[in-house]
Point group: C2
Chain length 102, copies 2
């Protein structure tokens, strides 16, 4: 758990927005039938919603992944990203411990 890297990853409104969107799969277009069993969302869907270039979104998802907030699962040509709720909770607890008093 690298607080420094985690906070930096969240120090950007679009990356935070992406994390929010990923709370609910229905914020994105429906998955293809062959991907119906996957929780995650592919980069193209995230890009379309965020309205930034493909390379920027790929970079953003890499930052969120290295910070531990999302996990990536490759299926064929697609990479599906979803939140890692445990890591997110762990970060929030560590962050609160550093910032809040007692």
């Amino acid at each position: 758990m690298d607080l420094e890297k985690s906070i930096a990853a969240l120090n950007n409104p679009i990356r935070r927005r992406i994390l929010e969107w990923l709370k609910d799969r229905s914020n994105f277009p429906p998955a293809l039938p062959e991907h119906a069993d996957l929780e995650g969302v592919c980069v193209a869907y995230i890009q379309e919603k965020a309205q930034l270039s493909q390379s920027t979104i790929s970079n953003y998802m890499g930052l969120l992944k290295h910070a531990g907030f999302v996990v990536a699962e490759r299926h064929g040509q697609w990479t599906f990203y979803r939140r890692d709720e445990e890591k997110i909770q762990a970060f929030l607890a560590a962050f609160r411990d550093e910032i809040a008093k007692s």
Copy 2:
């Protein structure tokens, strides 16, 4: 409550360290007798502990103040900074609401 500005203020390890130090007045040298009734800590003490230039620390304290994490109280030539625990709690709650699920 400007989440954007608040997170940016915390996206720096020394500013977070200063906030931590301010949890406990005894992290700094004792106050002058005429300031014994004040909770806050003067800029010079913070600067000495952080080992950065006076202008940098003044700038940092300004950022923390504008983010709402500290309040400044002027007494003569000194400015005493102390944590604003309510604002800090409010920020942490808003931050958690944005980041954590449900």
